[in-house]
Amino acid sequence: MSTRVGVVQFPGTNCEQDVAWAVKVLGGESEMLWHGDATVGTADAVVIAGGFAHGDYLRTGAIARFSPVMDAVAEFARAGGPVVGICNGFQVLCEAGLLAGALQKNAGLKFRCETVELRVETTATVLTRTAKTGQILRIPINHFEGNFVCDEATLKGLQENEQIVLRYVDNPNGSLDDIAGICNEGRNVVGLMPHPERASEAILGSDDGAVLLRSLL
């Protein structure tokens, strides 16, 4: 039986079909999880896909955290289930308190869509278990609010517990400590700004993202 990935869809989410496609290309199955339903269905893993949930109004992720599905996601995460937030999904997980820190506007105050280099900092997470520490991955970013911030104590905790999962090789957005992705203390909840689904097939220019998504399957 292949792994079944539940992909959360809020009004305004736009990467949900892309994640489902990449999962399928890599041999997994997927189902859509509607934001208004307080369940993760039969999913073995949950991905909160990118986009602009609820239009990103008020603040990225600020309204999405109140959608009924988030209660189910939080419960699933507490039980150790793998949860990954990509881009807007990362922002939602931070707002929901499932991950530390917050994402503010990019230094430079411009939206950035481009392929960047990432360094895998730990393989002890649900998203990097099939990668190698120190491995460099070429994966696109696509965001205006990807500049990770947190207080000093939180950063110290992230560093000491090896919760920084991915770092930018050449920081594109001003993120604290070059952070591109982090995990929770349980290492089963991961948020990252880059889009691994956009680098899942060579014809798209890079298949390095498959290294990450395959870890989920």
Partner: protein, 772 residues
């Protein structure tokens, strides 16, 4: 509205129009909505081909691409709103074109934005660029449609009147194709999406159908800012999903977007196209504020609204689906057999129009009567006047054409002169330099289709729907689309007929460079004031030149848009027809050969070069010498070239390929060098040999493509070219860290790359100092 137009309305109504009627005719008969100055000419375009499913006159043109799939495309302008309020003007342009595409049942999957601005040496032009790009970025990214290409071109003629054109493409199963028709007596017109406010009142008439007066101190048209609409991409994203879901469930008979002219236009058009009438009740229209007049409700251009025609039986299901997507849905109209377009205020509840309970008729069986605010023949609103405006070739056209820049340039740059500084100077022009500052702000990868994106000759999008189930047969080829937009206004100023043909040739050539065969064209015709006979001459010539080229290339024109009154203080812009061309790749199983060189490759140029400098970037852009004839547009040679290039690229017989256009061969070679991080050494061979070296470098002769070929395949390529009747010359080889054209220039790759990369960012920073 003119006195003659008012008389025509009085004649057709047999009475004076009410205030509401007058306002509606005024919008619907505006230049923007009625095409009254251009309609006479538009019939000249070839519009048919066996694969055309829907031609001009609908929300979008649609072609059949096989495998049960169709592709919808459209291009539009949002020039004046963007001049007045660049961010919202551009954003709502994006929103409008997307609605045109999904109103046909297609999922919008790609946007492209051809932009024209004045030079970046004024703060105002820099503000316009920043605002327009941020508007496209914020709306397009958020609504979830990737922007995969476009153009950004600078010329003094656009300083007070920038051009913001928007192209959108969508994909649909052929079975979901729907036209905006209000069929079926008793069917209901449901208004979906945003509430109606006072924004965008007079967008079509006040803004789009008049020029700007003398620039005021706060910028041209600042007094018209209240006529610009405000966009909400989140509302639109929900509308896309809800409308496509309605069509997938077979719940809508027809769908129409609300654009220029608002509810007046959408409701009357859908009914008229079906040969039906419609009653509208203003009281059913959700509003943003109290106290709106009937006129304001009917002609408001509030964004993110659609009109769906549904049967009464399906209404509850339609309302439930809209609730799931959190969009408003309100029954505002009912289809009648009267042929009349009638507007009431408060009648529907009394008449029992759903969702109101059925009304109990009075004793004599009649329904309560209400004052009718508008009662006109439905088709008359969309049936505006057609003008045959005076046409005259400009008096200075002969002297313009006579001022060929070659003689002056030959004197300044005789044989033996160093063309290196000229090359670096061209690379540092914002028209030629790297445009990634723009497109890095656009999501160009959503939907995982983008195999070649912005910055390439043409964007290439795979059609995921044509791929086998992923995982089953990895790497299996599917179909793909190639998309580009092109327009060369300076060429059109010098000779509109040739310039229009050159735009078609360039677009088709860009598409051929990806291995695709051109399938369809849409055009956005940006011109000055149609009341100037010289502008109408330019228009007529452009339509003829474009029609000739499309006929020769077998390219049907499946849609278009005309934007007049692009003028300021009485000065018209250059005639700026922009074309969007889509091509089909039958089989895509690997990446497209890049516009890049690798060491050891042999450089071959296809096509002949003549000393054609009229309107070129070198003569006009760098040296300010705007005159002469544009390059000749040999249509038959173009057809031969496109077929050969598409075949070679499709077979992957070449390692690299690049269209040769702005800045000529030297710039094309430099771009390939920068793209591959590899220099070259070439010499003037073939048709280049006899020319003045600098002219050979920078001539913009049409019908040329540069190939990078592996050594072992050169003879094969030359043989194929000879057989196809396409001139070909081996120029030299790729390698090293310098760009060397024997007898013309020798510059370092690093210098060339710096000039090219810094061009736009440094101009935007306010420091326009071209190198050399």
């Amino acid at each position: 509205m003119t006195d003659d137009e008012l008389s025509a309305i009085i004649d057709l109504l047999g009475r004076d129009p009410s205030d509401l009627e007058l306002a509606m005719y005024s919008v619907m008969w505006s230049e923007h909505c009625s095409y009254k100055s251009s309609r006479k000419y538009l019939g000249r375009f070839p519009t048919e081909a066996p694969w055309v499913l829907v031609g001009p006159g609908e929300g979008a043109g649609v072609i059949d691409v096989g495998d049960g799939l169709a592709v919808a495309l459209r291009i539009e302008s949002h020039n004046h709103p963007s001049a007045v309020e660049p961010h919202q003007g551009a954003a709502t342009g994006v929103g409008g074109i997307i609605r045109d595409i999904f109103s046909m049942g297609a999922r919008p999957i790609a946007l492209m934005d051809p932009l024209r601005f004045g030079p970046l040496d004024t703060p105002r032009n820099r503000y316009l660029v920043e605002g327009v790009v941020s508007g496209i970025s914020s709306y397009g990214n958020s609504v979830g449609v990737p922007t995969v290409g476009g153009e950004i071109v600078f010329d003094p003629c656009y300083s007070a009147n920038p051009l913001v054109n928007v192209f959108c493409l969508g994909v649909l199963p052929k079975t979901r194709l729907v036209l905006a028709r209000a069929e079926g007596e008793g069917n209901l017109a449901v208004l979906l999406g945003a509430s109606t406010g006072r924004d965008g009142i007079g967008g079509a008439s006040v803004l789009a159908s008049a020029g700007f007066d003398e620039p005021s101190t706060i910028g041209p048209g600042a007094d018209k800012r209240p006529s610009v609409q405000v966009g909400d991409p989140f509302e639109e994203k929900k509308l896309i999903e809800a409308c496509l879901a309605l069509l997938d469930s077979g719940l809508a008979v027809g769908v129409q977007d609300l654009g220029a002219g608002g509810l007046s236009c959408a409701a009357s058009e859908t009914a008229a196209k079906a040969g039906m009438g419609m009653d509208v009740d203003l009281a059913r229209v959700p509003r943003r504020e109290p106290g709106m007049s009937p006129m304001e409700v009917m002609i408001s251009e509030s964004q993110e609204r659609m009109l769906a025609i549904v049967t009464p039986e399906d209404l509850s299901e339609v309302l439930a689906l809209c609730e799931r997507w959190e969009i408003r849905a309100s029954v505002v109209g009912r289809v009648t057999t009267t042929g009349r377009f009638r507007v009431y205020d408060g009648a529907f509840d009394a008449w029992g129009v759903p969702p109101a309970p059925a009304a109990a008729p009075s004793e004599d069986g009649s329904l309560p009567t209400f004052e009718v605010l508008c009662d006109v023949p439905g088709e008359s609103l969309g049936d505006g006047p057609v003008y045959d405006r005076p046409v005259a070739r400009p008096a200075d056209q002969d002297s313009l054409v006579a001022a060929d820049p070659l003689a002056v340039l030959a004197q300044r740059f005789p044989a033996g002169a160093d063309a290196g500084p000229e090359l670096l100077g061209l690379l540092s022009l914002p028209n030629i330099g790297d445009s990634s500052w723009v497109w890095r702000q656009y999501d160009h990868e959503l939907f995982l289709n983008t195999v070649a994106g912005p910055g390439c000759d043409a964007a290439v999008l795979r059609l995921r729907e044509t791929l086998p189930t992923p995982g089953d047969t990895p790497g299996s080829p599917g179909k793909a689309l190639a998309l580009t937009t092109d327009g060369k206004a300076r060429f059109c100023l010098l000779d509109p007929r040739t310039g229009a043909a050159l735009a078609v040739l360039e677009a088709a050539r860009n598409v051929a460079c990806t291995g695709a065969r051109p399938m369809a064209l849409v055009n956005c015709l940006n011109f000055g004031n149609p009341e100037h006979p010289e502008v109408m001459w330019q228009f007529s010539e452009v339509v003829d030149g474009m029609s000739d080229a499309c006929r020769a290339l077998g390219l049907p024109v499946i849609g278009g848009n005309v934007s007049f009154y692009n003028e300021s203080g009485g000065a018209d812009i250059h005639p700026t027809p922009v074309v969007g061309v889509v091509g089909l790749i039958d089989r895509l199983d690997s990446r497209i050969p890049p516009a890049a060189l690798s060491a050891g490759e042999v450089i071959v140029v296809l096509g002949d070069t003549a000393a054609e400098l009229g309107g070129s970037e070198w003569a006009a852009g760098r040296h300010g010498l705007l005159g002469g004839m544009p390059p000749s547009a040999d249509l038959a040679a173009g057809v031969r070239l496109h077929e050969l290039v598409a075949a070679l690229v499709g077979e992957r017989a070449v390692a690299g390929v690049h269209d040769c256009s702005d800045g000529g061969l030297a710039v094309a070679l430099a771009e390939m060098a920068i793209g591959g991080g590899c220099g070259f050494t070439v010499a003037a061979e073939g048709s280049l040999a006899g020319l003045l070296p600098a002219a050979a470098c920078f001539s913009e002769s049409a019908n040329r493509v540069v190939l990078a070929v592996e050594t072992g395949r050169v003879d094969e390529i030359l043989g194929r070219a000879a057989a196809a009747g396409v001139p070909a010359a081996v120029l030299g080889t790729a390698g090293g860290g310098r760009l060397v054209w024997t007898g013309a220039f020798d510059v370092s790759l690093a210098d060339a790359e710096t000039a090219w990369r810094d061009a736009l960012p440094s101009a935007l920073a306010g420091g326009v100092t071209p190198v050399g």
